[in-house]
Amino acid sequence: MSNPATAPLLRVENLNKSYGKGVGSRHRVQILRDVSFELRRGQTLGLVGESGSGKSTTAACVMGLTGVDSGLIEFDGVNLTALSKPEMRRMRKRIQMVFQDPNGSLDPRFTVADLVEEPLIIHGVTDAAERARRVAQVLDRVGITVKQAQRFPFAFSGGQRQRIAIARALVLNPDLVVLDEPVSALDVSIQAQVLNLLSDLQDELGLTYLFIVHDLAVARLMSHNIAVMNAGRIVEAGTSADVFDNTSHPYTRALLDAVPGARRRAASLAAAAPALATEGK
């Protein structure tokens, strides 16, 4: 914090989060257990794990979309958990999110131009000409023409819709972008286009990404650092190369071995991670 050049942009420390099970129930389910990580400016942290491991809840906490039980979320030196709602809303201008399903995140009744303009209106950019300029600029950057932007989301392919969702996140010039499975709904040939775009944008704009992803190959390719989550805990963390080449945790090993094509018959998954075989508890 004292030295902004080396201080992380995002620092999460001992984050705990539980949800009540049923209305008024005293029984609570612990979702996150002492989650801690740091994310430096201009870098990507890949958060990998299976469904139910707590990746998306971690993102929701960082976005201020849900409260936390305890712990610290420090963004650019400010503790987000201590902010009031209006303060958090102002802060959210600098923290934007791209969701997995662009069909769900883009209102079908808005034109693309309106969709991308909406965040500017919400965050008080009153000059219409200024808004139009910024919308045109960011759409151009993701490869959508101004003429196309007069159409509605249904007129676009899945890959184009995800570009529009990215434009919508970037129009406010955020520092941190939380990417929640941004390509897992896309075909392989289109995934590559969107991943390349995200890499280029990061390099050009100095963006910082918290990248939630279950595809390990994508995680490795895109991330400087990796944190592997299992049952609400970070079980392994390190640089991309460290985590994938010198895997130390059996859960990470099990994940890597389970990738079809990459895994070998000889490696028995059940033996590597007995906890995973007992489902439907």
């Binding site: 469904s51 075909d187 392989v188 289109i190 099990a254 389970a258």
Partner: protein, 359 residues
């Protein structure tokens, strides 16, 4: 219109040896269980007719595991639905033939096809929650599945269901058979569907993206289970997927589908070692290899798949193809399927199985 692109199994090889990628034990038994010829499926929509499946032909042999790979919109799911008479409105099979153990299925009425579906063909869908009735216990759905096709008592059917659930790895099946679908995890639900699919001992199991909704570790378990079940029971498998890793791991032969047609039909090993069609090559290129792929420089296929309501004269991949982009022939003349020396059957004017020999 060519109806001669049936993929023979193993693919014909000039050197009479067994085809690569086909394990010996499974290629011994060569009777054809499912024969598809010139299948055409159209969807009549307000904005025109969408030709989802266009002249698809193949032979599926006993014990064969065949993959159909393609991206969304390639027609692979419409093909799967066409095989079992489940094409949703406003779609219709408008041409061709689907013969299961010699019985023609195209043109059968609902009653006729219902006697076959679930009995001689088992189905496993992508989303097990949608395939199961949330208001009925697993047991009652399972018993119904069995008793529709087999003349057994409820008690006997329940016993069969229990045994099958045990076989697919549902622990404590006797108790869990009384549970409702929501009480099962995603992976367990998919195991239940597999058990139901094989309940009446079908000769063919069709699995449409069976693991897409599952986590990678669960996916691995379900794929292992499918392979084990098919090996033990001798069913042929049609695996519909977009995941090339699954093809490599599970399948003997593969058909690459693009814009409603099979553009390359070959053995799984041949596809990975020497893909012939430019689209197959591009698709394989998109698979991220951590050792060589560089951040920001992922090979992507430019453009997007064609609109299936337009039947253009040329090759549908031409606009995205490194060869076809500049070849006038690709824009004007549709490639018919032809066999290469390797045995692969491709729809491309320029594909060759000699690397680097493309025009």
């Amino acid at each position: 219109m060519s109806h001669t692109n049936a993929l023979s199994f193993p693919p014909p090889s000039p050197s009479t040896g067994t085809a690569p990628g086909v394990s010996q034990d499974r290629s011994q038994d060569r009777g054809v269980v499912l024969q598809v010829k010139g299948l055409v499926t159209d969807f009549n929509t307000a904005s025109g007719t969408v030709h989802a499946v266009r002249d698809v032909s193949f032979d599926l042999h006993k014990r064969q595991r065949m993959a159909i790979v393609g991206e969304s919109g390639s027609g692979k799911s419409a093909l799967a639905m066409s095989l079992v008479g489940l094409v949703p409105q406003p779609g219709r099979v408008t041409g061709g033939s689907v013969k299961l153990n010699g019985t023609e299925m195209v043109g059968l009425d609902d009653a006729g096809i219902s006697r076959i579906r679930g009995k001689d063909i088992g189905l496993v869908f992508q989303d097990p929650m949608a395939a199961l009735d949330p208001l009925k216990t697993i047991g009652s759905q399972f018993v119904e599945t069995i008793r529709v096709h087999q003349d057994v008592s409820v008690k006997a059917a329940r016993k069969m269901a229990c045994d099958l659930l045990g076989e697919v790895g549902v622990t404590d099946a006797k108790r869990r058979i009384a549970d409702y679908p929501h009480q099962y995890s995603g992976g367990m639900r998919q195991r239940v569907l597999i058990a139901m699919a094989i309940a009446n001992d079908p000769s063919v199991v069709i699995a449409d993206e069976p693991t897409t909704a599952l986590d990678v570790t669960t996916q691995a378990q379900v794929l292992d289970l499918l392979a084990k079940i098919c090996d033990e029971r001798g069913n042929a498998l049609v695996m519909i997927t977009h995941n090339l890793g699954i093809v490599e791991e599970l399948c003997d032969s593969v058909n690459v589908m693009y814009a409603g047609r099979f553009v390359e039909s070959t053995s799984a090993r041949a596809l990975f070692e020497s893909p012939a069609h430019p689209y197959s090559k591009a698709l394989l290129n998109c698979v991220i290899d951590p050792a060589t792929t560089k951040r920001g420089a992922l090979p992507a296929i430019p453009g997007s798949p064609p609109d299936l309501s337009i039947d253009e004269p040329g090759c549908p991949f031409a606009a995205r193809c490194p060869i076809g982009r500049d070849e006038p022939r690709c824009a004007t003349e549709r490639p018919e399927s032809r066999a290469l020396a390797s045995g692969a059957v491709v729809r491309c004017h320029f594909a060759s199985d000699i690397p680097g020999d493309e025009a």
